[in-house]
């Protein structure tokens, strides 16, 4: 019996297999993709159980599966566009890895679009002006970004929470006018930007199977894996522990001998380097075309948005954030907006009902209030409120649909994508502050029985005290430490 229990997949594992099947099917636009993705997931699950039985590190089954799948992607996807999307996700994940590391040191930057831009421009300028191989250009870009990171990092050194945010805001804002300077036009191309569409950077041109996009994809993958391992080791090392010590309490960290300034500075420089590497890849991926208008404050804010939604407390969050940005924010919402404009109501109903669930079901107070009116028998007072809430949520969904339909006559829905994203960001920071990664970790520890318990608790009207205790957030979640004035 115990052997069977070990073999039973946990909720998270089942969810992962389903996700893999659907995701690969989407990327390959074929039913075979569904089978392939599902098979990869089930295979990893099987190997996981084998390793687990033998007391080996079973999680490697999953890691190797992800790596293998990523390596095979160029031959699975349905076209160059899909591959470019995946490569974009890769470069964003690199940038986000840097921001996660920065977050571990308790800092949040709204200026990293500038470092992405610096990486992209520095690499492009090196190739354009000095005609160096791309590897050299890349190293130059990294060195240059590190230097700028060091300079701004020093400025930000003594800053805390809000002041740091303002400093990085300045960086993001000022980057565009600098690129557009007349005096720099020779290098940056001023307002027109840099266009090297004709140049390719493919070393083995006689290998037919390695098309340009595939080459860039593999380069991104290689860098991503390397930087992931680096981040992982960094955060596990003494340095990583120093990061967390500084995040939680600077004074205490200094008291136990951590060099707070050095820690903050190195975290900032590391994140700048990661962003620059991402920017370098962005240059390759964007048809070697760069324009100052791409690196605005908006880009920085989108990065912070997916960092929070993905979860800034673990490396997983970087991948989830990149996935959210490319496949949910850009493609998913775009599709939803287009289909809605063509007259499909399903998405709006779903979205509105979800909103309704958050508003009604997520609040114990609503259920308690309803429970008081439904106090005729036990079942009715326990589950009646949830049923009413669900009905109300669907009602809100219908209302939401009608409202958007009304709005859509005057407004282009695709332009409202950031509105939806902003709303989700706000809901996320208020209800799931650890982001998607936090949710996944939470789910990862759960058995089916516990999952059932959680869902039941969500549906049940609870006594007041218990509900209050549950809403309290763990105190350790403070990525950006509070400013010094405290509130009672």
């Amino acid at each position: 019996m115990s052997a069977f229990r070990v073999a039973t997949p946990k909720p998270l594992e089942v969810a992962t297999v389903i996700f893999l099947a659907v995701f690969v099917a989407l990327l390959s636009s074929s039913a075979w993709g569904f089978v392939l993705g599902g098979a990869a997931g089930l295979g990893a699950l099987a190997v996981h159980r084998l390793l687990q039985g033998r007391n080996l590190a079973p999680d490697w089954a999953w890691y190797l599966m992800w790596l293998g799948l990523a390596a095979g992607m160029p031959f699975i996807v349905s076209g160059e566009y899909r591959l470019a999307q995946l490569a974009t996700m890769g470069y964003l994940a690199i940038v986000l890895l840097g921001l996660v590391a920065l977050g571990q040191a308790g800092q949040l930057s709204v200026g990293h679009s500038a470092f992405v831009g610096i990486g992209a421009y520095a690499a492009a300028v090196a190739v354009k002006e000095w005609d160096v191989p791309f590897v050299v250009a890349g190293l130059f870009a990294v060195a240059f970004a590190a230097l700028i990171g060091l300079l701004t990092g020093v400025a930000a050194l003594r800053l805390h929470g809000p002041y740091l945010a303002i400093a990085t805001l300045g960086l993001a804002i000022v980057f565009q006018p600098i690129l557009k300077l007349e005096e720099l036009r020779e290098w940056t191309g001023g307002r027109t930007g840099i266009n090297m569409f004709a140049r390719t950077f493919v070393p083995f041109s006689d290998w037919d199977w390695l098309t340009e996009t595939r080459w860039y994809y593999y380069l991104t993958l290689l860098l991503l894996v390397g930087l992931l391992l680096l981040s992982h080791n960094l955060l596990q090392s003494a340095m990583g522990r120093a990061f967390k010590a500084v995040r939680d309490d600077e004074t205490a960290a200094a008291a136990i001998g951590v060099n707070v300034a050095a820690v903050k500075l190195s975290a900032f420089v590391v994140s700048a380097i990661y962003a620059a590497i991402g920017g370098m890849l962005l240059f390759l991926l964007s048809n070697r075309f760069l324009s100052a208008d791409n690196f605005t404050l908006l880009m920085s804010i989108e990065l912070v948005m997916v960092l929070i939604l993905g979860g800034m407390t673990s490396l997983k969050g970087a991948f989830l954030g990149a996935f959210l940005l490319v496949f949910v924010y850009r493609e998913g919402l775009e599709t939803v907006a287009r289909q809605t404009e063509q007259g499909l109501d399903t998405w709006l109903l779903l979205l509105g009902s979800l909103l309704g669930c958050f508003l009604l079901l997520g609040r114990p107070a609503v259920k308690q209030a309803l429970a008081r009116y439904l106090d005729f028998n036990r079942v009715l007072s326990t589950f009646g409120p949830a049923v009413l809430c669900l009905a109300g949520a669907v009602g809100i969904g219908v209302g939401f649909t009608a409202l958007v339909r009304l709005v859509a006559e005057h407004v282009e829905l695709t332009a409202l994508r950031p509105t939806v994203a902003g709303a989700f960001l706000i809901v996320a920071i208020l209800s799931v502050p650890y982001g998607l990664a936090g949710l996944i970790d939470y789910l990862g520890y759960m058995s089916w029985g516990q999952l059932k318990g959680v869902l039941l608790r969500l549906l049940r009207a609870e006594p007041r005290e218990a509900a209050v205790a549950e809403r309290r957030m763990p105190p350790s979640y403070v990525p950006m430490p509070s400013s010094s004035d405290e509130r009672a």
Partner: protein, 304 residues
């Protein structure tokens, strides 16, 4: 010499708007402990409303109605949303501000279109001459309106019961509650006021920088710089910071090429105007480095 005087006067005049916007940011930071990155976009949105109104009605009614609508938006936001972050860590409030940024930025673009629009400019005509100094009429208009608004605000904050209670709430909310002040309503009032003043500042600069969804990016930055110059905790300090920024901007724009020439630096600058915003960020970074609590540096807040 006259050119210098003219630049300083022009700078002071545009500086009042930055001061006004910095005031807004400080008001929110003091009362809610939140750096509201969405403040500029909220103001942009209200400015679009004002623009739409001014198609139908003359300038002043449109201006006033848009300001009132901005007040309502701000107060409603506090009621519906900001209240929820009060007991959360400051990061949460900050992220909510970024969410507001995304929401209002895209709403402006989606509803009114991304293309730039010209905002009505009252009181046009030939510039004033004061000896050799020319003053553009609209600059004077901005200056006067901003001055009146600030005077009214100061009077409200200093001499009315509501204003004093508002300041008390911002200083120490728990103690204000013990005085019998309904602090949650005070915060609502504070947010409404802030949104209204932000909208007024934005409507004043809109004709100069041309109405478009990203128009407040730089003003937000200037506002924060001014607020930091003033120490982030003082309303008069924020206004002075704004004036400093306005003057600095103008001086850099005109005199930077000459300065570079005079110092025999190994490069040449053709047009100083490109450096107006860059210089400010440099100033911001320097101030943050050396005087994080502002130029008038009361170091009552402990620096960590």
């Amino acid at each position: 010499m006259d050119q210098l005087a003219e630049q300083i006067i022009t700078g002071l005049m545009s500086g009042t708007v930055y001061g006004l916007f910095a005031l807004v940011l400080v008001l929110i930071f003091q009362s809610t402990n939140m750096l509201n990155f969405g403040q500029g976009e909220m103001a942009t949105f209200s400015t679009y409303l004002g623009w739409a109104l001014m198609v139908l009605v003359p300038y002043w009614p449109g201006f006033i109605v848009a300001a009132i609508v901005a007040f309502i938006i701000g107060a409603a936001l506090q009621r519906g949303l900001i209240r929820l972050v009060e007991d959360k860590p400051p990061t949460s409030a900050f992220i909510v501000g970024l969410g507001l940024f995304l929401i209002f930025n895209s709403l402006s673009g989606a509803i009114f279109g991304p293309e730039p629009k010209s905002f009505e400019q009252p009181w046009t005509g030939s510039p004033f001459k004061l000896g050799d100094i020319t003053i553009v009429r609209y600059n004077l208009f901005i200056f006067l309106v901003a001055l009146v608004v600030m005077a009214v605000l100061t009077a409200f904050m200093r001499f009315t019961k509501l204003g004093i209670a508002l300041r008390a709430t911002a200083m120490d909310r728990a103690a204000a509650e013990l005085m019998g002040i309904p602090t949650s309503r005070m915060l609502m009032l504070g947010w409404g006021l802030a949104a209204m003043l932000g909208a007024i500042a934005a409507m004043l600069v809109a004709p100069v920088i041309i109405l478009h969804p990203g128009m407040m990016f730089f003003v937000l930055m200037f506002g924060f710089t001014a607020a930091v110059l003033g120490g982030l905790d003082s309303l008069p300090g924020a206004v002075v910071g704004g004036l400093v920024i306005g003057v600095l901007q103008n001086l850099v724009g005109v005199y930077l090429p000459d300065v570079v020439d005079a110092l025999h630096l190994p490069f040449d600058i053709r047009d100083g105007n490109q450096y107006r915003d860059i210089a400010l960020v440099v100033v911001l970074l320097l101030v943050l480095m050396f005087r994080p609590h502002g130029l008038f540096g009361k170091s009552t807040i402990e620096r960590k």
